[in-house]
Structure formats: C-alpha cells, structure tokens
C-alpha cells in the first residue's frame, strides 16, 4: 500500500463506528498495521505489513537523511488530513520505546527519537530530533488531525507534555496505549485469569477496569497505564484490553488472538441496554442495544434471536445499532452474527449493576441507555441487584451519593433488580470496606474530575451533534469537584489563539453569545483541572446559509376536506394538483 492508502485505512480504522463525542487514540502498533494490511484485500508483501507501512512513510516523507514533509501533509484533501500516516509512524516509534523509560524524562526524549529514526530509516549515528522536522511543524500536523476529529464530532486526545523534555514527544507517546509485546503478554495473562475464574466469560468495562487496576503487572508500562493520572487514558486502555479479551477464542487453547498476523479472527460485538418506559402503563423494558464495531465498518450484519430468527442490525446512531428485544440485565449470554466473517457474535456482559444516562439528544424523554459514564453533576439511572441496596444506603448516609425516591423493583425478566432514579455522585473520595461497597465504588466513583455541558441557544437540527446557529449561541457550564476550573474554547482551524481561555467557577455558566460572535466553524471546548485535561467536548457554529431544508420522514400532516388533502399550499385530489 502507498502512503495515501495507508492514510485512508488508518483514519477509517480509528474513526469508524465511534459514538458521537467519543475519544480517539491513534494507537497504532504493529498489530494494528498487520490487521489493516490483511483487511486491505491486497496481497501480503514479502517484507510484511509493518515494513510495507514504513516503506510508504519513508518514500513519501523522507529524503536522504532528512524528513521532508510536503504541503499535502499539512492539508485536508477531500476532507481528510494528509498527515495521518506520518503521525502513525510517530506513534509506532513510541510503541518501540524501552518499557522501563518513563514518558516525561530527558531519557525518554532520546529514547523516542532513536525509535523514530529507526521507523523512518534514518541514520542512528545522528541523535535527537531528525533534521527537517522542527517541533512547530510536528504540532501543526497533530492539530490537523485534531481538527479532522472535531469536525467529525470526535474528541482528540493527543496533547503536549507537561515537562520541557516531553513537550512535543508527548503527542505520539500519549497515543501509544500498548507497547510492543504488550499484546502477547496480555493474551497469556488473560488465558490464565480466565482459567482461574478471576475474569468472567463475558466481561464488561467495569469488570475489566477493576481487574486492570488490581493485577500486578510485571511490565512497568502496563502498571503505569493502569494508574495513569489521566483517567481518560486509563479508560481507553481498558477499552483496548476488553477488545483484546473479546477477540480471544478461549475454547481453543492454541488459537491465536485476532491481532496476531495470519490468525483466524474471533471478534465479538458488545451489547448494552436501552431502557424505555410506557407512558400510559409505566411498564419498564430493557432492550438489547448492540454497539457497532468500533474499528472498521462491518458489512450488513444479522443477529440470531433466541427463537432462531435472523434479524438485520440497522444503525440507530453513530456507534449503536437499533435496540432489539427485551434482555435480562444480568447478561452473560451471547447471540450469533452472520453477514460479515469478521464478526462472529454479540456478547452480553454479565454484571450485577448497570448505569444509564439520559438520551443526550432528548433529555426530556423517558429513554435511558449506557451511552457513556455519567459526568460530574449529572443525574443518572442506576440499576442493581437487591444485595447492593444496603450498601448503597450506607453510601448515601456518607453523602457520597444521593437519589430521588425509593428504589423501584423491576418485573420479569429482572426480578431482584432495582432501579434507583435521579442518582448523583456527590464526592470523589469513597471509603468502603465491604465487597459490595468496593464493587459499587468501582462502577460509581467518578472517573473524571470535571464535566462540560452545553445548553440554550438555537441548535441546528443535526442529530447527535451540538451545532448552534450563528448568532444564537448557547451556554457552556463546567461542573467540577474543585472550586475553579480552566475553560478553553479553541477554533480548531486556528488553534494558536483560543477564543476563550479563563478560570471560571464550578457550575458557572459562560454565555458564548455575550463573549464574542463566533464565526461559523468547529470548536473544541476543554476543561482543565490542575493543569490536566478533565473533559473535552466539540461543538459547531453553523452559518444560516448552510442550513438545508429537510423532508420529514414521517407521514405528512394534512387537512382533509372530503377527498381533497391540503398540505400548505399544496391541494391534491387523488395525488393530482388542480391548477385552478
């Protein structure tokens, strides 16, 4: 594959199937490159896909002993950034870093550039940053990638380091979640943990997160990742681990995981729940709500219900398929998939509690689902087995959590489960010494220190995105456990000068309309606590000229006068307009 083909493949791999507002780590490593190569439908090069990738980068970006980036690397071409293959090479170099080297030291800088030189095929006789590649140019490339992500309603994660040594190399290092060799180590560990029942058959995010933080890894990198000061990075690592765990065929001890070249891929989609309440009867139902494949778009998929019927999976919103049938909250089941050989089944993770947030696009509706973790200051719906109620009451007394009303018992198929409504976490520090309490802390303890929310203004009718119409901008509020937070709003097309960068109080509302007339474009909102990014949220300002009319998909509303139908000025009889 050439540079451009790699560019497209990598972008698609990391952005397809992502839910709105989800974070993207450009976590390229050898395994990812091999997988992309396999799925390219091109014949395997003798040198292997990783070497093919390196050759593509070298032929496009290196001249002699110098990095030579061209104008197309700094531009959006047909709506996609031309820099991603090169950025991927930078991240690949980070995955080769010696694992004992911490990421914010001078040794790290030396170590990183040595690896980068290897990837780019530059002489190791020279040391440090390659010639022709000043730091400012590197940053411009990362901002182009960020701009692309924000335009696609995704959240970028690459950022500057905090120390002088790590200022620029932190960009690629922050993206490399697993280093070279981590995968093979993890597969071995997962097999052992599964065999000893320390990990369940169908593990969910909370279970994996808990396991990850407790396991005594030999690798210092994995240890550091499990306890990363940036909780967003730890979360992304757990997601990567979960994906790996779900790609292992545990029934076959000798089978290789998905990521190993040439192996049979066993991939599973994870399902969540979609909660609806009947407005008249008040009946509550929890429906199976499968996630879309996070990486790479699958072909048409069908799922086999427990009655043996095959049903098509249709996209409901970015990252999710339409809800299906009623599914017990306890989970622990799986359903067969067909239509795309890469995806074999949908698994329903087992757990004793679930957390649901309101529909972000229609908070007034009765609909809840496990779209994301609740933010700071956000109310949510918590469901759990009855054995946790006692411990929850204790936590409520300790004022770390609160809710409205009494727990509501659920009906079949969720007997012994309770709904606790309008829950809110009130404190960051949880003290508990019971097993139930620890489990609750794992799932409920806030993972972030601040959350951004938007409100007001006139929103363009664009589903699953926050788009304000020019001249009618709304408000930004940051809820945080700290008293003050730093709020930054950046036009991603001009990142050097944020349009807003101030310390504000927690729960203070910033009216964008009063501050400045933001022009049409894409913006990234960032809340920082103690100098670290706590939350990010993209929004767009749309020019009125770009607002298009839409034909409603529902049946038209008409006034009937006998056999005549009136819809606006359109007056029809038997589908004919009378030209009076």
């Amino acid at each position: 594959m050439n540079y451009e083909e790699w560019n497209r493949a990598i972008i698609n791999y990391f952005t397809a199937g992502g839910s709105s507002g989800s974070q993207v780590y450009l976590s390229v490593d050898e395994d990812v490159l091999e997988e992309l190569g396999r799925e390219s439908n091109q014949s395997l090069p003798i040198i292997g896909w990783t070497a093919d990738f390196q050759n593509a980068v070298r032929s496009d970006c290196v001249s002699g002993q110098e990095v030579q980036l061209k104008s197309h690397h700094f531009e959006m071409i047909n709506g996609i950034p031309g820099c991603v293959t090169f950025l991927a090479a930078m991240v690949l170099a980070a995955t080769y870093m010696a694992e004992e080297v911490g990421s914010e030291t001078v040794a790290a800088e030396h170590n990183y550039f040595t690896r980068l030189r290897e990837v780019l095929g530059l002489s190791l006789d020279d040391r440090g940053r390659p010639r022709g590649f000043p730091a400012a140019r590197q940053e411009a490339l990362w901002w182009l990638w960020k701009r692309f992500l924000v335009q696609n309603n995704l959240v970028p994660t690459a950022e500057r380091g905090r120390s002088v040594a790590s200022r620029y190399i932190q960009y690629p290092i922050s993206q490399a979640l697993l280093r070279h060799g981590d995968m093979a180590r993890l597969i071995q560990i997962f097999r052992q943990e599964r065999a000893s029942h320390r990990l369940p058959k169908f593990c969910d995010f909370t279970g994996m997160s808990r396991w990850f933080r407790r396991y005594m890894f030999g690798s210092s990198h994995l240890r550091e990742l499990a306890h990363d000061k940036d909780p967003r990075r730890s979360q992304a690592a757990v997601e990567a681990l979960l994906e790996l765990y779900n790609s292992i065929d545990f029934s076959n001890a000798g089978s290789a995981p998905a990521a190993v070249p040439g192996s049979v891929v066993v991939r599973r989609l994870i399902a969540g729940w979609y909660r609806i309440a009947d407005l008249l009867t008040g009946d509550i139902s929890y429906l199976l709500y499968p996630r879309q494949p996070r990486r790479g778009v699958a072909q048409t998929l069908e799922i086999e219900s427990s009655s043996g019927e095959w049903q098509s999976l249709t996209e409901e919103r970015p990252g999710r398929f339409l809800p299906l049938w009623e599914e017990p909250l306890a989970g622990g089941t799986h359903y067969k998939l067909r239509g795309d050989p890469r995806w074999s089944e949908v698994i329903v993770p087992e757990a004793s509690f679930r957390v649901f947030v309101r529909n972000p696009d229609d908070p007034a509706s009765n609909v809840f689902a496990d779209w994301r973790s609740p933010g700071v200051g956000e109310t949510f719906l918590f469901t759990c087995k009855n054995r946790y109620l006692k411990e929850l009451a204790v936590l409520r007394q300790q004022k770390v959590i609160d809710w409205n009303g009494d727990p509501v018992a659920l009906r079949t198929p969720n007997v012994n489960w309770f709904e606790i409504r309008d829950c809110m976490v009130l404190a960051r520090q949880w003290e508990t010494n019971t097993p139930e309490g620890e489990e609750l802390a794992e799932v409920l303890r806030p993972r972030v220190s601040a959350s951004i929310s938007f409100s007001g203004g006139l929103r363009a009718p664009v589903a699953y995105r926050w788009v304000w119409l020019a001249g009618y901008l709304g408000n930004i509020t940051v809820a945080a456990f700290e008293e003050y937070v730093r709020l930054k709003v950046t036009d991603v097309a001009a990142p050097a000068h944020p349009v807003f960068d101030e310390i504000i109080g927690s729960e203070e509302t910033v009216a964008l309309r009063d501050l400045t007339q933001l022009s049409a474009g894409h913006y990234l909102t960032e809340a920082l606590v103690s100098g670290r990014t706590a939350d990010q949220k993209p929004f767009e300002v749309l020019a009125w000229e770009d607002l298009r009319g839409r034909q409603s998909e529902t049946d038209p509303i008409v006034t009937k006068l006998g056999e005549v139908r009136v819809c606006g000025a359109l007056i029809e009889k038997d589908g004919q307009v009378d030209q009076a």
């Binding site: 009718p461 009319g549 529902t554 038209p556 509303i557 006068l561 006998g562 606006g568 000025a569 359109l570």
Partner: protein
Amino acid sequence: LWRRRFGKLESAAETPVAADVVRSNKLERLLIWLSAKGCGTWNNFAEACETLELSTNALPAKGILRRLRLLGHLELSANGDTWMVAPATCVTCVTGDSRHFLAGSRTVLMGPKCDLEWVQHQPDYTGPLRIDCRAREASTFRSVGKASLWLGNVLPDICQWRDGLPTIDGLDAVLYDVERWDGNDFQSCTFVQNTGEWQSPSGLYRLAKKDRPQFSAVEYFFDRPTGRWLRGEFYGLRFLAIRENGSAMRPINYDPQQSRLFVNVRQRWPLMYEKALVLASGFLPQRPANSDWLIYEGVSRHLCDLLASKLQVVVKEVPNA
C-alpha cells in the same frame, strides 16, 4: 439574511421601524430553522420562538404558528401537538398578470434563486418574507397554480364545517369554571344541566379545571342542538359563536378597484377560509392603525363571493375604500 436588501439587521434595532425589520427577519430565520427540522412538537416550536426572541406578549408563539399556517408554510396536527413544514411550492396569485410567490419549506438559498428585489416584508412585519417568484424561476419549485381558488372551491359551507369539527366526548362541565364569550370578552357563567341535558345556549366557552388551576384554560364551542362540545382554533370557534348570535354578524367590505377585502377584526374567519384569502396574494392581512378592519390584498371578486357564500356573510361593495 437578505443583507443586500435590508442592510445591517442586528444593529438596526434602534428605531421602531428597524426593530420591525429585525423581527421580520427573525421570523424568516424561524421558517428556515423549521424547514431544516422538518417536523417537531409544539414545545420545539415555542422554544425556537423564545430563543429567537419572537415570543413576546405582542406576538405570542401561537399567533406566529397561525400566521405560518395561513401562508401555507406549515401544517399542524389535529391535536395541535405536532407541526410539519409543507413542501416548497410556487403559488400563482389570483389577480394580476401571472405573478407567483413561494410557500412551504424555505432555505436561505431560495433568496438568490429569485431576484432579491422581489422579496417583500409582510404587512406589519408579522410573518416571514414574501418571496415573489418570477415565471422563469417558477419551474424550480412545485407549481400549485391558484391554490387560493382551489381551496375556496373545496371548502365546505360553514354548517358542514361546524359539523365536521372534532368533538370532545364525556366532558363534564360541572368540573370546570366556565366562562362564555359575549361578543367582546369571556364572562363568568353557570353551565346549566337539567334532566341530564345541558340547557345552556350554543356558544363559545372557556373552561378551566376547578381542581387544577395551574393548567391553562381551553376554549370549546358548545352546539346545543346536538349537545356536542366542538374543538378547533379560537377564531373559528368565535366565528361560530358570533354567527349563532345572528344579528351580531357584520358584512364584509369589498373594493373591486383595488381587489381588497375588508373583514372586521372581531369577526376573523376560521383558519382555512382565511388561508384562502392569504394565499390569493401571499400577503397576511394588514390592519391600519386605529382600524377595526383587516385588509386582504389581491382578492378577486369571484373569490370574495365564493368564500362569502360559504361563510354566509353579506358582501358590501365599497369602491376605492
């Protein structure tokens, strides 16, 4: 929007006239936003009006919605909960030389398609802009001809219209505080029931639940001969109530020279009949200061007689009114 024609919009709100222009352009933006959304709930509509600072006491959201319906931009579901933008159409005026205007869905880009010189404000700036559509552009949009005449032809007479209104079943007036429309305003009254039948006269009533004062009152027409409570938009029900009173009904005035129709503001027509008048020209009615008359432009004699006969109102000719 329409910057070339109207200059600076937001900063021009210093004089009363400029403020009107700003309001008119906000109504235009509302229509563009509604068109982008396609359909929605009453709450969506009211919130958008509020955000655009249109929904004031002088121009409440319900009034805006009614005007958009009169202009053929919007339809409302029978229960009033849901609205939907109508398809973009090119309507031919009833009078004059083959002139056309746009109704239904709208985008900013529709302006440049037509010459901006042909864009006009509605009388009193109470609706979105009226975009005149020349014959050469008419083919761009779905042509519906003289929709006004077609609508006038298919509308039922007032008695059939009344009989076709949706009814409220099982309404127990005893549970409500009741007021009756006396021709000018609502006056408190007692709704009389005798041997299981309501004895009160036909008319427009306002009912507010005694035990739920926080809910706004609703207006229904009581049709005594059939004992039915009828539901509909306010002006239509009020028209029925005035008609019941017989002598209170005033004639309408028609100026054949200027093709203008004058309707007393207190006897405004039911929406569909008024819509036929508005679609004749694409202009909402004008109400001169200190006048009790609503003036509809571009109404042909034929259309005037057609609608007057259906509503059973007398037409008085007033040349050069």
